[in-house]
């Protein structure tokens, strides 16, 4: 276990390089309120850790204001049931969590709450979370494709364009546009998308692994079509056409 001063220095360094945001507090009530607030406002993926007197007492993976995974030094059946539920929709869970946190924090001389994005790389040797089982995120369930959007044409590394929609000058223009853009988006990590509006119903999608596509969007536009729909369209198409 680290001494308080080592712990404080580590947190300070981590905060300075942007690895983690943290707060320190001295009262159980404030610590509990602070942690619940972090859980409640977390919409992007984050790992939130609570330490009491330097020891890790809680590690939660949170996204979209829901707890994906949680471990707690004093695990109880009620707490185990929290994972997978939305904090906003389940006041009972909120109440149970509040009671458990308050009980834990009663012995707290030093209480710290850290958070960092789930996607940030972990650093060896840093005072960190000793729960290796929590490293993997819950597998995201992609939504099924909707009739509001479909892939009009697709290409792998610009080798050849496969058209699914009837030929039209508008589709050709969209293909030419995405072809021009693709070189500039090679820095995209695989599985990440850049989406760019084009004229008419068309939008351009570039994926980090070199797949480029023209999407035909019938409801909304490139800036509003749900992310899960975009990913499901690609996944569906690539499954159906493994030979592409």
């Amino acid at each position: 276990m680290s001494t308080a001063s080592e712990f404080e220095r580590t947190l300070g360094r981590a905060a300075a390089i942007g690895v983690t945001d943290h707060s320190r507090t001295h009262t159980p009530a404030h610590a509990t309120r602070c942690l619940l607030e972090r859980l409640d406002t977390c919409v992007l993926g984050r790992e939130i850790t609570m330490r009491v007197n330097g020891d890790v007492h809680l590690v939660a993976h949170v996204k979209d204001r829901s707890i994906l995974r949680i471990t707690f030094a004093q695990a109880t059946p009620a707490l185990k049931a929290i994972a997978g539920h939305s904090l906003t929709d389940t006041p009972d869970i909120r109440r149970d969590l509040h009671a458990l946190l308050t009980a834990v924090c009663k012995s707290g001389v030093s209480i710290a709450i850290e958070q960092r994005p789930l996607s940030s790389p972990r650093e060896e040797g840093r005072v960190g979370v000793p729960v290796s089982a929590l490293l993997e995120m819950q597998e995201r369930q992609a939504a099924p494709p909707t009739p509001e959007a479909h892939i009009a044409a697709i290409s792998f590394k610009m080798a050849q364009w496969q058209r699914f929609d009837p030929p039209s000058p508008e589709l050709d223009a969209a293909i030419a546009h995405v072809s021009r853009l693709q070189d500039s988006f090679q820095w995209l990590p695989p599985q990440e998308f850049a989406l760019v509006p084009h004229s008419g119903p068309f939008a351009l999608a570039l994926r980090g692994d070199g797949v480029a596509a023209v999407l035909c969007i019938k409801a909304g536009n490139a800036m509003s079509v749900p992310a899960d729909v975009v990913e499901a369209l690609f996944s569906d198409l690539l499954t159906q056409h493994a030979d592409l």
């Binding site: 988006f185 850049a194 509003s224």
Partner: protein
């Protein structure tokens, strides 16, 4: 556009966590509002991303970057202008409203 405008923008769009107004030419953050306390480097990253995306397509006004954990949206009032509104959102955010609000905000600022 002021920090208050951005605060209202974040508040009115469920799932939007952070909004910044950035100068993509100088890569400077002009103002920002976030629901969470984020390090300056997080804001800088978003600003750099906006600069990179719009450098790739100077003719474009809107762009979107989708990752496993969330999405970033980038708007500017006209092609080849250096001010961009950037929003960091959850994957399930209601982007239809956000799109409209962003254009309204930009329109008001440039008008």
């Amino acid at each position: 556009m002021t920090t208050d405008d951005l605060a209202q923008f974040v508040h009115e769009n469920a799932g939007c966590e952070l909004a910044i107004l950035a100068d993509t030419r100088t890569q400077t953050i002009l103002c920002a509002h976030s629901k969470l306390r984020l390090g300056q480097e997080r804001l800088d990253d978003l600003c750099k991303m906006a600069a990179r995306l719009f450098a790739a397509g100077p003719e474009l006004t809107d762009m979107r970057h989708i990752t496993d954990l969330g999405q970033s949206l980038f708007f500017r009032a006209a092609p080849d202008t250096c001010e961009a509104l950037c929003a960091l959102c959850s994957r399930s955010a209601d982007l239809e409203n956000l799109d409209v609000h962003a254009r309204t905000l930009l329109g008001r600022s440039s008008g």
